[in-house]
């Protein structure tokens, strides 16, 4: 209920004292709004999501034999007669029906063969073709660097974990709903008094107070992903155009039927909370992109799970996407079609999907995308991911 507009923040800032003027939330004072209106939400799925289990190629004759133990549970939801959606994402089927949910199958970063989470995530977030050192920032930040004069709250990195995809020279706001200010108003006033001689510190505290209050009633409570989703929606309803955060729990080496279901429920709740929080009008101009560092082995392993693989799945949601489709070139999962005889063969660069979405939203040039944001990427023909 206690939702603050930027104007409210400014009014309160002047009541709190001048030092908030030094805060990134409200500088530069002349607000240069982002020159686009569509919201971009990037979710990094850490651990290697098993795309073959999330969007199952039921029509592929080789599929059933690969993972007999992973299809015992509730039936999957048919999507298009060939692919079917994991039962734990059942709540999102209405979005699919409306064209607000889509997938790109058999995608991967250029990362190959070593299958380390650590390197895989570094590469996914750096957006480079190889880990050869020297690149410190993330591709989403480099996209922002292409738009001069952006203000800090155009983009939000949300949550306590590192989010390299949004790190870099372009100003970005950070907030973790876990960063509570659970102290009394009187104590907060005293802290503000104590910090007053230090302008940046004082401003940061004032900003934290505003953020935690804004967030308070509606965001508080529930698990981390619920708080994050509510907070992201709240900022995106205002002037924020880009929000990024990560969800963990995809490394399903064992008991995948249970563990993946749990993580997908988290993802499904996150999407629904974002949609509800954004409201129909903003959801209509939102593109959500969820990506993971790699897919998993085509075959089930000996502990009811799957191991680190290669080709994976990208998920798209929001009213701005051209959903209701499984995009990508399906390579098949017959023995001789697998990558090194074990993994789903990647048929496209996952970066191309992200590039296409960003190109449509922000108008950033293909040259910038292929040389600066994703150096070495060849975008190829658009898949038609956006409306």
């Amino acid at each position: 209920m206690n939702q603050l507009s930027r104007r409210d923040i400014l009014l309160r800032a002047s009541a709190l004292g001048c030092s908030l003027a030094a805060s990134p939330l409200v500088t530069p004072l002349a607000f240069a709004k982002a020159p686009w209106d569509t919201r971009l939400i990037v979710i990094i799925l850490r651990g290697g999501m098993d795309g073959l289990d999330v969007v199952r190629p039921m029509g592929d004759p080789a599929f059933a034999a690969l993972r007999p133990g992973l299809q015992d549970g509730d039936p999957a939801h048919d999507l298009d007669g060939y692919f079917a959606l994991h039962p734990a994402l059942g709540d999102l089927v209405p979005l699919w029906d409306k064209g607000e949910l889509g997938f790109v199958h058999a995608v991967s970063t250029p990362y190959r063969d070593k299958r380390s989470h650590f390197d895989g995530q570094d590469l996914l977030e750096a957006g480079t073709a190889a880990l050869s050192g020297g690149v410190r920032d993330g591709w989403l930040n480099r996209m922002l660097q292409e738009v001069p004069g952006l203000e800090a709250d155009t983009a939000y990195a949300i949550g306590t974990g590192d989010l390299r995809v949004l790190e870099g020279a372009a100003p970005v706001a950070n907030w973790a709903p876990e960063a509570n200010l659970r102290i009394s108003p009187a104590a907060l006033r005293l802290a503000s008094l104590v910090m007053e001689p230090d302008a940046p510190m004082h401003a940061a505290l004032a900003e934290a107070e505003i953020l935690s209050q804004t967030a308070d009633a509606s965001v508080r409570g529930g698990r981390a992903h619920q708080q994050i989703a509510r907070f992201a929606a709240e900022r995106l309803r205002e002037d924020t155009r880009v929000a990024a955060f990560s969800l963990n729990g995809w490394d399903t080496h064992r008991a995948q039927a249970r563990n993946l279901g749990r993580s997908l429920t988290t993802l499904s709740e996150t999407v629904k909370l974002l949609r509800d929080g954004l409201g129909a009008s903003v959801w209509d101009k939102t593109a959500l992109v969820a990506m993971t560092e790699f897919g998993r082995t085509a075959r089930e392993n000996g502990t009811g799970g799957t191991d680190h693989g290669t080709g994976g799945l990208m998920m798209l949601a929001g009213g701005a996407i051209n959903g209701g489709q499984v995009f990508g070139r399906w390579p098949g999962v017959a023995e001789n079609a697998l990558y090194q005889g074990r993994d789903l063969m990647p048929t496209a660069d996952v970066r191309a999907g992200a590039a296409e979405v960003m190109r449509a939203i922000t108008g950033v040039s293909q040259t910038a995308l292929e040389t600066k944001i994703f150096p070495g990427l060849q975008m190829g023909a658009p898949l038609g991911l956006m409306r």
């Binding site: 050192g133 306590t160 590192d162 390299r164 659970r182 802290a191 104590v194 007053e196 940061a204 505290l205």
Partner: protein, 460 residues
């Protein structure tokens, strides 16, 4: 501006302690760095060898468990490997407390700050599995013994440590003309990661006089450095690029040999750009985000004239008037902030060492994550940010305030008198406004928290 014991503790140490006297001169500070390493003896940590043994053992149990998933022996082996992992993780968590004990109890806090500074300069993060628990052993074995010696020795120890080779992908890098690439064309070839970071981060600096060709040549020279099956260092001739390599205009010998690599590292350590890079980084870290050129030049000259003798660099830093300028400019990063709070409270060693790993996670590691500096887990090889703006964020300041109010009660038996604590923690840094706020606070927790979040405590 000249030496002051209070500033020595705050700017160059972990703050004032109610129990440990502050150093009385620059000489005393330097002697504390050069002398016997009492804290290492008093508060030891598991060695890298110990972790290597655990890694090897766990791999064996894991392998057996995977091959025999349905047998009782297999299940027992699986339990065993999980237990080894848990033990290593708990050792790592408890190691946090040991490292704090060093920082709380040392009369030579500058030494502990230097260990942290250099461990960050040569950042490593263990990639995956139990390797991520190796950070403290690396700091103890590769960094700590060399911080009072020559930079060249420190550089060698860090760059050639198996954890570094693993972190920056050196261990599998093979020369395009190496034996392995000729025999197995599918083997991934050269990896420039370590070579680039050595030039950019460890020695010459990002503005240093090197080109992409130098990076590539150094990467070819580095080939062969790898880690053995037991995670120790090994030089693998079959990965090494044959022939000479030319880095920064100097050609390093024919044939693959560790000696050429060592010579190249020595030359990089001796390079004037390295002197300038190290001098600036020391000045930025200890004095302020934008140090005077005079201070940087003074340390740089000491480096150049002593062939990278680090004690001479510290002496130059501490003898310069800028080292003692007030008001303080830098903010303490979260980990230092926490250590300084612990040192100021002087919690009984027993209380800390008896904390369960879960509680250590809740009271220290969790809050550090929210403050933006998770324990031993920086985002990249460039380590933690030096600029204050990275730390003075809404989220960071809120997390510090929360921790300052709620955490001390969890590691102290009894909370001290807030006014006395303010005087003990801040010395002459106590202001009238702070005293007013401390006296006006509704609870002792809040009063103590206010002392900890005061600019006088957070800046140094």
């Amino acid at each position: 501006m000249s030496f002051s014991p209070t500033l020595a503790e705050r700017r160059f140490g972990f703050g004032l302690s109610p129990q440990i006297p502050a150093p009385q001169s620059v000489d005393a500070m330097l002697r504390g760095v050069a002398g016997v390493d009492q804290m290492l003896a008093d508060h030891p940590l598991p060695s890298f060898r110990d972790l290597q043994d655990k890694l090897v053992l766990r791999r064996r149990f894991r392998g057996f468990a995977r091959k025999n998933p349905d047998t009782d022996e297999g299940k027992a082996a699986d339990k065993k490997q999980q237990e080894i992992y848990r033990t290593a993780r708990d050792d790592w968590t408890r190691g946090f407390v040991q490292i704090q004990a060093r920082r709380i109890q040392t009369p030579h806090a500058f030494r502990e700050r230097l260990v942290a500074f250099w461990a960050d300069h040569f950042t490593v993060v263990g990639k995956g599995g139990m390797l991520r628990f190796a950070g403290a052993a690396y700091a103890d074995e590769a960094v700590r013994p060399h911080i009072n010696g020559r930079f060249a020795d420190l550089l060698r120890a860090c760059v050639m440590h198996p954890l570094m080779l693993e972190y920056l992908d050196q261990n599998r890098s093979a020369g395009p003309g190496s034996i392995i690439v000729r025999r197995r064309p599918r083997w991934q070839g050269l990896n420039e990661n370590l070579a680039r970071e050595v030039l950019e981060l460890h020695t010459l600096g990002v503005d240093g006089p090197y080109s992409q060709t130098d990076v590539r040549e150094l990467a070819e020279l580095f080939t062969g450095m790898s880690r053995a099956d037991d995670y120790g260092f090994v030089f693998r001739r079959n990965l090494a690029e044959p022939g000479a390599e030319t880095v920064l205009g100097k050609t390093y010998g024919q044939g693959a040999s560790l000696q050429h690599i060592e010579t190249a590292l020595d030359d990089l350590a001796r390079h004037p750009a390295t002197a300038a890079h190290i001098a600036r980084k020391l000045a930025v870290h200890f004095v302020g985000d934008v140090p005077s050129e005079d201070l940087v030049a003074h340390v740089r000259q000491a480096y150049a004239q002593s062939d990278g003798d680090l004690m001479q660099c510290y002496a130059a830093l501490l003898e310069h008037p800028d080292a003692w300028v007030t008001p303080a400019k830098n903010i303490r990063p979260p980990q230092e902030f926490m250590s300084a709070a612990l040192r100021a409270f002087g919690p009984p060693q027993q209380a800390l060492s008896q904390m369960e790993p879960r509680d250590i996670g809740q009271v220290f590691h969790g809050p550090l994550r929210v403050m933006g500096q998770p324990w031993e887990n920086p985002a990249g090889p460039d380590g933690w940010a030096e600029n204050d703006a990275a730390w003075v964020t809404p989220q960071g300041i809120a997390a510090r305030l929360e921790w300052a109010v709620y955490a001390p009660g969890k590691f102290l038996d009894a909370l001290p008198d807030p006014v006395e604590f303010a005087q003990a923690a801040l010395g002459d840094g106590v202001t009238a406004d702070l005293l007013f706020a401390v006296n006006a606070a509704e609870t002792r927790e809040v009063a103590l928290g206010l002392v900890l979040v005061s600019p006088a405590f957070q800046r140094r």
